[in-house]
Symmetry: C2
DNA sequence: TAAACATATGAATAATTGTTCATTTGTCAT
DNA sequence: ATGACAAATGAACAATTATTCATATGTTTA
């Protein structure tokens, strides 16, 4: 019985090895937070729809809004969140700002999610 | 100019092909909703921590609660959400209920998320 | 410089969500 | 059956969040 053992379910069990393995592989608090934040970004259907649109082409805010039938403001707010998470990048061309996917993780993550939901 | 064209950014542009491609590849409303729901589940650090614990072993509710230093009720509520999303499965053994990962999508999705956040 | 347009942003509101507390349900041992 | 323990659940509260509206910023053209 060591200090790492856990009293649980009214019986003493030797959890030492488990607790060590978990602590070893569990990301630190900050990374866990960042990870949850990232998935939160995918956890909104408006943002997912924006990403699906950007799968097809680089588009300005106005085009995205029109394609999805939402207001410019709503889309702009969501694009800011997507950009902060580095899922999309932007490029200004005159009055317009064009958005595109930042990298291929976006597709992979969404594809994995779809694989899961389709089962 | 067809009915599918979009007036946007004060100029008429031919978006017909784009709109068609988007509509073709964009999942239906229900699947988009399910997809967002799935990612929402990953969008909470408590649930991610639970999944990391289950990466190591099948555990009862009480063990998970002790390992994470949270109440049985809080963990139970979250396990219900994880189970509804088919990310974990459960097995009763006497008074205890043991939880484990439902499939390997969980690891893949979390790994992809980590890859993105670590860049 | 002024007007017009595209985008960004702040405040407000409604809706959603995680945790706690109290209680219930299910199972085992006596 | 009764008491004890593990887990599940409902209600309540605090915190977070998506959209709307109004307005500000940045860019181009006249």
């Amino acid at each position: 019985m060591t200090i790492h053992d856990v009293e649980c379910c009214d019986t003493y069990q030797v959890h030492e090895e488990l607790v060590r393995a978990v602590n070893e592989k569990m990301p630190g608090e900050e990374e866990l937070y960042d990870l949850a934040e990232l998935f939160k970004v995918f956890g909104d259907s408006t943002r997912i729809r924006i990403l699906y649109v950007l799968f097809e082409a680089e588009l300005c805010v106005c085009d995205i809004a029109q394609t999805l039938g939402m207001t410019q403001s709503a889309i702009s707010h969501q694009l800011r969140i997507l950009k902060q998470s580095k899922l999309v990048k932007s490029r200004r061309d005159g009055k317009q700002v064009f958005y595109s996917l930042a990298d291929d993780h976006v597709r992979t993550i969404i594809d994995q999610g779809r694989e899961h939901t389709e089962e």
